[in-house]
Amino acid sequence: MENRTDKNSYTIIFAIAMVIVVGALLAFTASSLSPKISENQRIEKQQNILYAMGVNDNDESSAIFVSTQDAPELFNKYISKQLVIKNGEVSEDDQAYLIDLKKDKAAAGGDPAKRNLPLFVGEKDGVTHYIIPIYGKGLWDAIWGYVSLDENMVIQGAYFDHKGETPGLGANIKQRYFMDDFIGEHVLDDSGTFKGVTVAKGNADPINENKTDNEVDAIAGATITGDGVTAMIKSDLKLYKPYFDNLKNN
């Protein structure tokens, strides 16, 4: 006897019903949770920016943010100015940290003059931090980060994060030992031209003592993620060079 579930008409109706039910379920979940999710993402951005300028709860070896409750208050306390640079024009915008670099990059279509470049200026222990968000791609998916520079474009702190790099390999770019290696690295070379920081394999300086060689030690087995970090530092920090030139001349 033929089972009623084998009929073509039953199959089609079942498929349609399933799509409607599952679709409705997912749409309901997504729309009801989205305010809470974007709130979490907003706080995370504040935590990231604070981390890059050294406001964090780090213990000896691990990287720990300030707590989510304290983040908005500390953000207002430490970040004195949020700027957006567009085609050389600098303007203040207290929502600059909400700029989505990925969307902005895509909208500009490879033309840096069309991009909105966010820059955060903060002060901690008498030192001024210029914090720049960067965005690029790793092996599997997006990688991004925040780099804090001083007025000579020397790195004072860095935070990297990723969407889907391999645990134990590429995912280690958000480990403290890797991020801390960037502190003190020069982004410019001796003559003052932009050089970036290279995540180098076969680095003869694993303890990272030479901070003016524009190199940090790579993570074994994470070559493409490391290259991605190098590339995003080069491409994104370079766009801010005119701002820093200006800063020095005035």
Binding site: D6, T29, N40
Partner: protein, 215 residues
Amino acid sequence: MGLLSKKDTKLITDPLADNNPITIQVLGICSALAITAELKASIVMSISVMFVLGLGNVVISLMRNIIPSKIRIIVQLTVVAALVIIVDQVLKAFAYELSKTLSVFVGLIITNCIIMGRFEAFALANGPWKSFLDGIGNSLGYAVILIIVGFFRELLGSGTLLGFPVLGDPIAKTGLYAIGYENNGFMLLSPMALIVVGIIIWVQRTRNKALVEDH
């Protein structure tokens, strides 16, 4: 009779060794190779799979009499994908930190052969309670292998366990590194995970000859 009958207990304990999803059923190998470079990742993945497989098995089992056989694989895939997305969204809203750790695994759960394998082999033919136990049992069996592989890969590859250095500091040359030990970077790459899984299969079949197939 307690909470679990003898048969029910077997559903949980069998997949731990004699019917292990990875070493005997050869399911879920891909994810076992991909994420076991760290012990912590192995544990997180095991818990995620347990949740999705346990719940998914129940859902499929409840629907087993109304699923048209022609499109049953698509139906199963839809159930897994929907479950995973809902779990991911809820975590993002209420446990943001955890959701970031899990994000790597979410995609891998959808493609994990254990899930589809158990839906096909068990949930489509059994009741919800039995299917739930089968899901938990199989994910525990999966967890055992993942944790063994993760343990050896992290220990020999990075010299750490759950992130804590246990063999000394490789840069400052303390502990075992002082007497010339080096981390084996090969352990961190996927091929070595396959070799570790192979060794586990070898040990298991040497100890229990009943598992060896006749040719």
